[in-house]
Each structure stands twice: as C-alpha cells, then as structure tokens.
C-alpha cells in the first residue's frame, strides 16, 4: 500500500501561527520516480508556506505540462490548482492574477515547459512583472518522454543513453535578469537549507520572482557525465551567500558588517539577510551578478542563492493602474453603466 500515504501524523507536529501543521500543507502522494528532485522541491514549498503562515486556500498553484507540472498535486491540497497546457502556465497565471490580485500565485514549470515550448510566455510574464513565484524544476531533460535533452542541458552533458549534447544550454537566470526580472534565484533540490528561505523570500516579493532549481532526474539524468546529477551539482555548486528570511520585522537588526552581511528589505517589510560569500557581488547590482554568472559558467560552476533582487519592483496590477479590489468581486453596481448612459451613447451615434 505504498501508493497511499498513511493518515497518521507525528503526535507532536509543530503548529504555525494559524494553528496548522505541515500536514495541512501537504498534497497527495507523489507519482514521480522515487528520488526525483522535484519531490524535494515540493517538500520545500510545503515548508516555506508552513513557515510563512500562509493560508493554503489563498494560494493558487499553476502549472503547464510535464513531470514538474504534475507536482502541484503533491503539495498544498487545500489550494486550487490549474494544470494548464504545455508552456502556457504564464498566461493562465497572468489572467488569474488580473482577476484577483489578492491571492498568492505559485507557478511550477520545468525546463521543457519553460525554456522550449514556453519560452515566449516565460519572457513576457517577466516583462509584465506579474506578481507570482515561478519555480523551474530544471533537470535538463524530458523525463516524461524518456530523457531527451532539453534546452537547459549543458553543452557536452552526457545522457543516460550515452548521447552527448551538442548545443549550449539556456541560462534561465541570466536571461531573466536581462529581461528585467525583479527577483532571480538559483538553487538545488538537494539543498533545502538554501531553497526554503529562497521560496519564502520569493513568495513575499511583490512582482515576478524566478527560482531556477536544478533538480536531478534520477531515472534519466543522474548518470556519470550528466551535469544535472546529484553528484555533479554537489561538486559544482557555488553558493553566493547563505540566506536567511526574516518575516515582517521579527527581529531588529543591530550593527552588522556591510561587506559580509547584506540586508534587503522587502515590499511587505520583511527582510532577507544574506551572508555574502563573495565580496564583489551585490544582489541589487545587475552588472555584478551578470559578471558572476558568466565567470561561473566558464568555471563550470552552478551559482546558487539569491542572485538578483529589485526591492522597488512594481507589479503588473500597479503598472496598469488596476483597482485594489479584486476584479472578480466587482458586481453589476461597479461594472454596468446602466440604461441611462446607454441611451446617451446611442444618441451620440445618431
């Protein structure tokens, strides 16, 4: 019966401020391959939402098609989910966000869903700064169709069948920064200590936030020669900083060393504390991170952590001056101009 999750829970499970335990944030049992990195990311999402005291039903889970896009079934079962069509999650999320700006939009996508079929929508959702968290579960291959190279597979990476990739991989983070993304992070599914605070910060960011998570495909891309395997990523993971997310002014910071500790204040007053490991890099300086990304690429390293943040970000609804009230709550009263105005319009047309 290992296809059903027992209802038992630990009797002393900690509760958050809403009185919920982690159980209230879980979903149904994953049907992905055992050991899939995506499941770790799902677990990190559960932890992040639990720790942020988010009411699960205030979250909308959005996805496209592929292994990654199945995962919304495996977390936050009290949230509405929308498994749309391949590569089109950004547009569906944009529409949903316009309809109700008060909810939290969590989009989950994969490297095929984002970097190939969905590249167009991915770039435009960034351009519009839709207030959402966009997590790419990036395993460099098409797991659901048996492991073909994806557009993020690195040049020279060897697939399980021995095929050597002859094309350069797309760097989603670098591209997102170039396109004007206001929150860009990179992480590894096997590093929850880094991933959870990143997700928390992303969910708290007002505007588009991207987390590109390298997530090994245990079945098709965890072999020798792969650059997305557990071993390779662990060996080549270069963290820019250790990250700590401090929800809305929980802690007053006293003096700190600015060269080592970077504190970014978020839109809602919460703080991101970054213990910088590299003195040259500043998460609010685009140029420094672009340089760092290029250098890490030359060194075959995977740069992880919060790469770039624009804490002054203005999200879509603000940009187009939409009312603060969710549009889906407006009624005839606000929306219908009525017969008198219609008569006036008609008389102008005579």
């Amino acid at each position: 019966m290992t296809y059903i999750k027992p209802k038992f829970a630990h009797p002393r499970l900690p509760e958050n401020k809403l009185g919920y335990t982690r159980k209230e944030y879980e979903g149904s049992l994953s049907t992905l391959c055992a050991g899939c990195g995506h499941d770790s990311i799902s677990a990190a999402i559960v932890d992040a939402c639990f720790e942020l005291n988010i009411e699960p039903h205030r979250v909308a889970k959005m996805s496209g098609i592929g292994c990654s896009s199945k995962t919304p079934a495996y977390f936050l079962s009290n949230s509405h989910g929308f498994n749309s069509v391949h590569g089109r999650m950004p547009s569906v999320t944009t529409g949903a966000n316009l309809a109700n700006r008060s909810m939290i939009y969590l989009g989950v996508s994969g490297d095929g869903d984002t970097a190939s079929i969905g590249m167009g929508q991915f770039t435009h959702v960034i351009r519009r700064n839709v207030n959402m968290t966009y997590i790419v579960m990036n395993n460099g291959c098409y797991g659901l169709t048996k492991g073909q190279d994806s557009a993020t597979a690195d040049y020279g990476s060897i697939s399980k069948s021995g095929h050597v990739n002859s094309f350069e991989g797309i760097d989603l983070c670098g591209m997102a920064i170039e396109l004007g993304a206001t929150f860009v992070a990179q992480s590894f599914s096997g590093d929850k200590a880094q991933l959870i605070p990143l997700i928390k910060a992303a969910l708290s960011h007002s505007g588009f936030s991207l987390i590109n998570v390298v997530s090994p495909c245990v079945t098709f891309n965890n072999n020798q020669g792969s650059t997305k395997s557990y071993d390779y990523v662990r060996e080549h993971n270069e963290a820019l900083s250790s990250i700590d997310f401090v929800p809305v002014r929980e802690e007053i910071l006293t003096e700190y060393d600015h060269t080592k500790l970077k504190v970014v204040e978020m839109h809602d007053g919460s703080l991101i504390k970054l213990n910088k490991l590299s003195p040259e890099w500043d998460p609010q300086d685009k140029l420094s991170i672009m340089t760092a990304l290029h250098k890490s690429h030359e060194r075959h390293e995977i740069l992880t952590g919060l790469l770039y943040i624009d804490s002054e970000s203005v999200e879509l609804n603000e940009l187009i001056n939409t009312t603060n009230v969710p549009l889906n709550t407006l009624t005839e009263k606000e929306l219908c101009p009525g017969s008198e105005i219609l008569e006036q319009i008609c008389s102008d047309l005579r």
Binding site: S79, H80, F82, V85, S91, A96, L98, Q121, L327, L330
Partner: protein
C-alpha cells in the same frame, strides 16, 4: 427617370490619406436626413498607398446589404482609374480630379464624367501639404453633397460634433466643403437623376460598427479582464472596449481602473489569460480572427474539457492561412464549432447586426458561465468593421449577471459532499468553486487530462466515457438556452426555403423580398446559434429543398447541418459567396434562379 434614395456611391481612394472619415461624413449625412444607408469599407491589408474603396448604398426601402452596380463613382486614386471607370453602371457618373486631364484610353461613352479640379482648388486655398491632402477629401464631399442634394448644414453639424474641443478645425473644413459644393453649383447641373430626399425612415436607429457594439456589450456584461493580440479585423473591438472602459469604468474614489487590459504576446497567451481570469471568477474575453482561432484551439479544448467559461469573438476574415486579411468571409464555422483535437464542440453565437453584437456579447458571458464552457461570437469583417444602421441598444437595469453554478463558502459548508464534475441537477452542468473560497473545502485540481467526478486524474474507461457523455448532455442544455433561430413564414407555405445567418441577413432578406414581389415567396430561417436548436431541424424537415446561403467556399454551415442534424445533403442547396466582398441580393437571386431553372429542366 429619377431615383430618389435608391443608389450606390463608391469612393476610390488611396489608403492612408484620411479619406475614410470624409467618406463616413457622407454616409452619416444621408443617415441624418432620415434615409437608410449602409457603408462598406473595402480596404487593403496595408497602412499607406494601396487602393481603398468606400461604398455607400442609399436605400429608401431599408435594404442594407451590398448592391452591385455603381451609380456614382468618386475616384481620387489614379492607381485604380481603369478599374473604377469600368465598374460604373452604364449611364452612371464618374467624378474625378480634373486638375490633370483624363487619358483618352479611360473614356467610356456610356457614362458621365464630372471633373472637379480638387488639387487645383486645394493648392489655391491651402498651404500645408497635409491639409491639402485632407481637405481634398472634404472638397469632393462638398461636391457630392451638392450633386445628390444633401443639406450641407447637416455636414457642418457633423464637423461641430467631430471637432469638439478642436473648434479651430471647424472653419477650414466648412470652407473646403463649400469649395466643392460651389464648384458643382457653378459648373454643372444638379442634382443628378438620383439623389437624396429627406425622410423619416431610420427611427431610433444608430450608426455603429459591430466591433464597437461588441466592445460596448462586453462593458455592459461586466467583463473585467481583456487579453488580446492585434489582428485585423478584431483589433477595433478591443480598442472600443478600452475607450468605453476608460470613460465608464474608473473607480470614482481612487480613479483606478475597474478593468484590466493586457495586450498579449500572441493569441495563445491571449486566450490563456482569458481562461485564467475566468477560472478565477472574473468575466474575461478575447477577440481574434481566423489565424488566431487556429492558435487558440488547444486552449479551447482545455476550457471545454476542464469546463471553464470563456468568451471569444471571432471576427472572421478571408482564409485560408493569411488569406485576404481585410476582406470578409464566414469561413471559420467548422474550425470554431469543433476547435481543438479530440471530441470537442463549442457554443457559437451568430450576430447579424451591431445590435446583435451588443446583445450577444452581453449574453455570451451569461451562457459561458452558466454552461461553464467557451462561447464563441462569430462576427465577421463586414459586420465588425463597417458602420451599420442598426436599432438602438437597450439595457434592462434590473438585469443581473448570471454567474452560473458557483459555490460559496457557506454552500460548501452546507453540502455533505461535493464533486467538481458531478452532475447533480441532471442538466449536465456541475458546480464549480473559485480559488480562495474556503480554507478546507472546495479546492480541486483543474486539468486537461482525463478526470473523474471529483476532478481526480483517472484513466478508467467507464469514468472517461461518463464524463464525455455528460459534456454532450450539457450541450443539449445549451440548445435550450442559446438564441433560437428566427423563422420567417409566408402566408402560404413554400416548398423551398432559404437558410442564412450572420451578415448574409440583409442580402437574403432583400432577395426574399424580391422573390415575394415576383410571386415566388419563400419561407426562411436565420440561424443565430450553434449547436443547432431543435427548431432548425424541424424547419428544414418541412421543405423539399433549402437554399443555404453562406460566405465561404466549402459550405461550412451546410456541412454542420448535415453532420449535426443528419439532414439529407441533396436537400441543402449551396449558395456560396466567397470573393471577400459582402454578399449581395443579386448574387443570391442569381444562384436561386439558376438552381430552380436547372431543376425544372
């Protein structure tokens, strides 16, 4: 022989010279004189430089369809001189810019030439080059007004309305108008043997294009989220929504928008956003044309299968592929009715007039939300982009938006159990929930993969079949909800009948009138929606033969009738106009007569 209020005027211009608004002045002035008028803009897929025509039919009898045979041609485009001269009916008139002499090769013995030195007048009276170009148009409007006995005061009144806030433009326009008018007065005998005489035949009608009407309908229907991708001929629909929204949808306290419009990166994103917004409980629509419909197919399938409302307006143009982007057709019916792979079927609404564009647009949101499925409004270029005389719009202030079966938190608490795709009421329509409604109840996973009544993934064959069959049942419910056809029965039942829809209406009604006058009265039916209501089958069954009038090559509506209603194909006679111009009564009559003649022999 003089013909009062029954003639066709055609203007031949160069695209991008501001002629359209001048020509509209002419049409509007006829309308203001209380005479029914219809205007067709025949324009190229181009911004500047190619030939464009504006055709105005003046009809005392109220026939608003296009008519072949031009009585008066105003040609200010040397590029199309030859063609324009050839298109004038024998005995008709050709007004041209006589600044330069007309080449002999263009001359025709059987028509009258009226030379007005437009360039000369403009060069003399105006200095700014752009003004010269624009006022040339007004000068010929003045000339035509004088030729056709149109009251220039009416046109001056139109200037006053047009240039509200820019009053200093009124005087030069009036001047140009009189320059043209006076030139005719001094040099020609007028009016012509056909002219306009004031009447009181337009009632409370208005003049508006279908796209503007549909945009306004969406405002009244409470649409809040609009996503779109520019494509001729649907673009002006969203522009109309936007301009009305900016006037009518500002929050009075904050000045912020009670709407949002996003120009998407492509049609896929446009429909994706509309579906996302509807999923989240906002009324949302998008508008497109044929190529966009093709791109939206996948998403339409998703909305159909996951049972989400969405409203789409297809302003049809000539296909296939890019086709003739600025010419009209009714050629998206099969692809719209069955858009997307797998077994799908969509609700279509077919307006014939701007008034119906307004009404059907407002109703489309009710249908979509009540049925939880896409509703496609099948307009076309002729309807969408041309100004039509149409009955004034009406709105009942007691009307409530019908949001369909959407459960509230209280209802969820009161329910012992709920399944997103469970048919509780037997009408094939399940109950849905919106995200964020209830902390622990009502959440579900919307998906395009096969699912059971509880929205859980399922590849169980009986479950799949059950859901697919219920979707059919839902369409049966739809048939009772959507607009029934309009049936026209003569005093005596005829053996043959005519079936038409959309913008073929005016031409068909004119043809039917002529047949009636000829003693060959024919019963008729106008289809207003798909899937076909039962009345359609009942009607067709009553006749030996039915002429199916359409504006496409492949008789798409006829195919749908055969496919959906199992009608004997022999019974349905094709009348197909697909040259990109709006169908005419003459065309229909010619086809009807030909068929009847052939079958007699």
């Amino acid at each position: 022989m003089s013909r009062v209020n029954d003639f066709v005027v055609r203007f031949a211009n160069v695209n991008g010279t501001g002629s359209a608004s001048a020509n509209y002045l002419f049409a509007k002035s006829v309308f203001r004189m209380g005479v029914p008028v219809s205007a067709k803009n025949i324009f190229p897929s181009n911004i500047q430089g190619l030939p464009t025509w504006y055709e105005v039919r003046v009809s005392e009898k109220g026939y608003l369809g296009r008519k072949e045979g031009i009585d008066l041609m105003i040609s200010v485009n040397p590029q199309s001189f030859k063609k324009d001269i050839a298109s004038v009916r024998s005995g008709g008139y050709f007004l041209y810019d006589s600044t330069k002499p007309l080449h002999n090769e263009f001359l025709r013995e059987d028509i009258h030439f009226i030379g007005v030195p437009l360039m000369e007048i403009c060069n003399r009276e105006f200095t700014d080059p752009r003004q010269k170009q624009l006022f040339k148009n007004i000068v010929y409007v003045g000339a035509v007004a004088r030729l056709l006995n149109i009251d220039t005061n009416i046109i001056e009144g139109l200037f006053a309305e047009q240039f509200q806030g820019k009053e200093k433009l009124i005087a030069p326009n009036v001047k140009a108008l009189h320059l043209g008018s006076d030139f005719i007065k001094e040099n020609f005998s007028f009016p012509l043997d056909f002219y306009v005489e004031a009447r009181d035949l337009v009632g409370d009608s208005i003049m508006i294009d279908g796209n503007s009407a549909a945009g306004l309908g969406a405002i009244y229907a409470g649409a809040t989220v609009v996503s779109w991708y520019p494509i001729t001929p649907s673009t002006s629909l969203v522009s109309s929504f936007e301009s009305y929204a900016k006037k009518l949808r500002k929050d009075p306290l904050t000045g912020k928008n009670n709407f949002s419009i996003v120009q998407a990166e492509d049609e896929l994103a446009a429909i994706g956003m509309a579906i996302g917004a509807n999923w989240n409980g906002a009324r949302s629509f998008t508008a497109t044309s044929g190529p966009g419909l093709s791109l939206m197919s996948e998403f339409l399938g998703l909305a159909y299968y996951s049972e989400l409302p969405v409203v789409l307006v297809d302003v049809q143009r000539s296909g296939p592929s890019t086709g003739m982007p600025t010419r009209t057709q009714q050629s998206d019916f099969i692809s719209a009715a069955y858009a997307s792979h797998g077994d799908t079927k969509h609700v279509l609404l077919i307006p014939s007039t701007p008034t119906e564009c307004f009404d059907m647009m407002a109703d489309a949101f009710d249908y979509a939300e009540k049925l939880q499925t896409p509703v496609i409004v099948m307009s076309d270029l002729d309807l969408g982009m041309n100004d039509h005389m149409t009955p004034a719009f009406k709105w009942d202030d007691s009307r409530k938006y019908q949001r369909g079966k959407v459960l509230t938190a209280e209802q969820l608490d009161a329910l012992p159990q709920w399944g997103r795709y469970r048919d509780v009421d037997g009408d094939g329509i399940p109950y849905r929930t919106l995200p964020g409604t209830h902390p622990t109840k009502g959440s579900y996973f919307t998906r395009g993969s096969s699912h059971d009544e509880n929205a859980a993934y399922s590849e169980d064959s009986p479950t799949y079949v059950r859901i697919m069959d219920r979707l059919l049942k839902k369409l049966e419910t739809a048939k009772k909800m959507i607009p029934a056809p309009e049936v026209h029965l003569g005093e005596k039942k005829s053996d043959v009948a005519m079936l038409y829809f959309g913008t073929s209406m005016h031409a068909a009604e004119e043809a039917l009138d002529i047949l009636k006058n000829d003693g060959a009265s024919m019963d008729a039916i106008r289809i207003k929606s798909f899937p076909f209501c039962n009345e359609v089958k009942e009607f067709i069954e009553n006749y030996d033969r039915v002429f199916v009038v359409e504006q496409n090559r492949d008789a798409q509506m006829r195919s749908l009738l055969i496919n959906e209603l199992e009608i004997d194909p022999k019974k349905l006679i094709k009348v197909l106009n697909y040259d990109g111009t709006p169908i005419t009564a003459d065309f229909i009559l010619k086809n009807v007569h030909q068929h009847l003649f052939q079958s007699i022999n």
